[in-house]
Symmetry: C2
């Protein structure tokens, strides 16, 4: 049965929210869990969840619910790790120095076959580097990439690479497309994913050298998948494509600009409502409406980003992740394992 | 007195909306205009504006007003141009073939000193290429760049390059910063513009090679201006910076992602209101509120993007521009001319 390892020490709200989310996932999805980190801290949090429960907004802004789960009936094991890699540390240096860090032992658990995937909300760089060194690359993949699911008008759109590789080659973007297609098909359930290159115009002669070359490479192989050409930023979230490839720099900027624009708009809308003649009443109504939209654009629903291309499954959660996000990240990890994602990537890349 | 040339044939709504916007600007800002394009078409539109007027939403969604302006009292001249470069044409090829295109003669009017700036809503590529070849570069500038003003929480933020150069060098980004500072200071009225590099993390070691090298170059010259380091996409619109430099590929993706995210959110909000219990009433209220926010994020208010780095002023308007956007573009062009933007860029680049 699939077991999911979780770095209990990673993220802004570790270990409390991470352990709570892990227990919640074990309970809700009936999945065995391996918590990696300081044993005493983890045990204390497990006891807390059992005795006092924890608070969660369940992905809705506003009121919180108290959730209490009897951990004694769940399959949760603890693997002790002495050290923790902090957010500010240089990933490479930290990995060389802290050989017993929770993220390192978590990845090792997957490499050794004790668990099937790892969920980590700590330093993204450390999770990527630990996964790359600890698990190794899938045959035929030059560099692993981050796959991120963004809300779109009708169904989520997958962006790959979301930030693992700032400088890329056209071949890498081609490989990202292959990995994205497999993820979209087998985890997101999209039948024939439409693949596009993030670009600044529709014509194939548009964009930087990388985008043009990647376009050529994908177009030359379009009998193998559903290549739809270039995708512009304005169509990205409007259901024009299922898998969008780009280098990790552009991908990460895109993700953060999406977040920034949404924040700006929500602030402007709130401001406008507060200024209104109807004052308070309308304000409350606005809140209700915005809270209904919120889950649709809330990163917590998607649980995290997947590092694709390593021999194992690594789900990288947002540093701000709370229990609800971690629970969803475990779900994504479980689905990725159970669909045999990596085997399918290997097969398609061999073609 | 400053005269503004306008490519009357460029854009989705040419010549009707372009001529209307030109007349409107001549009337409202008391600025002489040179309309470049097919003389008969332009004259017919001028007569229409005088006799029938034109409809405009004045930058507000919803009801339109009819505006009628007596053109006989305005200083508007027509320069005949036989040809038009269409949106789909390859800029370089089109320029070689159509030597009497409206955009070419419009740029020539500026180069010859008949007008002081050109406003163009047609093919962006053609406007850039025509400006570069027709006006030449400012001394010390490797490549001209597009400066775009985006709405931010408190005051607009300038992004440069917004799409002129897909592949850039660190030196180019440094020059973009200089040009952006001058624009921000003298046209947007920001005293000591904060300059940042668009990047995927705060640390100077983050990002692709280009962003890292540009960061180094700007940091080494930080005694000359207010360099604030890296800016992430999520802070871009939250008043963290006044001038953000990046290559034209990333810049253009950013602009379009902003547009796409706003579109998605407005669609979701509308959908949510329509679904609501209160139905129609709330829907109407929502419309009123959204329409109040709309001007703040409406590209038409900012009139267009400036091509900086050429010996002349070129304002590139959105292809969808209507009269209101063109009027504002003329205002921006006039301000850029009257502040002696190019002379100031030359001075700062020499330093």
């Amino acid at each position: 049965m699939t077991r999911i390892a979780i770095d209990a020490m990673g993220g802004d709200h570790a270990p409390h929210e991470i352990v709570a989310g892990a227990v919640w996932a074990a309970y809700e999805y009936n999945v065995p869990i391996e918590l990696v980190g300081k044993r005493d801290d983890i045990q204390r949090e497990l006891d807390k969840v059992k005795n006092e429960g924890f608070l969660s907004d369940c992905g809705q802004k506003g009121t919180k619910k108290r959730i209490k789960i009897d951990t004694s009936k769940l399959d949760i094991i603890i693997t002790h790790a002495d050290e923790v890699i902090e957010m500010g540390e240089h990933p490479g240096q930290a990995l060389r120095k802290k050989k017993k860090a929770s993220i390192v032992l978590g990845v090792k658990a997957v490499a050794d076959g004790n668990s099937d995937a790892i969920v980590a909300a700590g330093s993204t760089g450390a999770a990527m580097a630990a996964s790359l060194f600890g698990m190794g690359r899938i045959k035929g993949i030059t560099r692993p990439a981050i796959a991120v699911t963004l809300p779109s008008l009708k169904k989520p759109v997958l962006i790959i690479d979301g930030g693992a590789n700032s400088d890329c080659t056209p071949e890498m973007l081609y490989q990202f497309a292959i990995m994205g297609i497999v993820f979209s098909k087998h985890v997101l359930g999209i039948k024939e994913p439409r693949v596009g290159v993030l670009n600044i115009g529709e014509e194939e002669t548009k964009g930087n050298t990388l985008a043009q070359e990647a376009h050529k490479l994908l177009a030359a192989n379009k009998d193998k998948f559903n290549f739809v050409g270039n995708i512009e930023g304005k169509e990205l979230l409007l259901d024009s494509c299922d898998v969008v490839v780009c280098d990790g720099f552009v991908g990460n900027v895109t993700l953060k600009v999406t977040e920034g624009t949404a924040t700006l708009l929500f602030k402007l809308i709130k401001e406008q409502f507060e200024k209104s003649l109807f004052g308070g009443v309308v304000g409350i109504m606005a809140k209700i409406f915005l809270n209904k939209i919120y889950p649709k654009i809330n990163y917590e629903e998607y649980g995290g980003m997947l590092l694709l291309g390593v021999k194992g499954i690594t789900v990288i959660s947002h540093g701000r992740s709370k229990a609800y996000a971690i629970k969803n990240a475990v779900r994504v990890a479980k689905e990725a394992v159970e669909t045999g994602l990596n085997k399918k990537i290997e097969e398609l890349i061999e073609e």
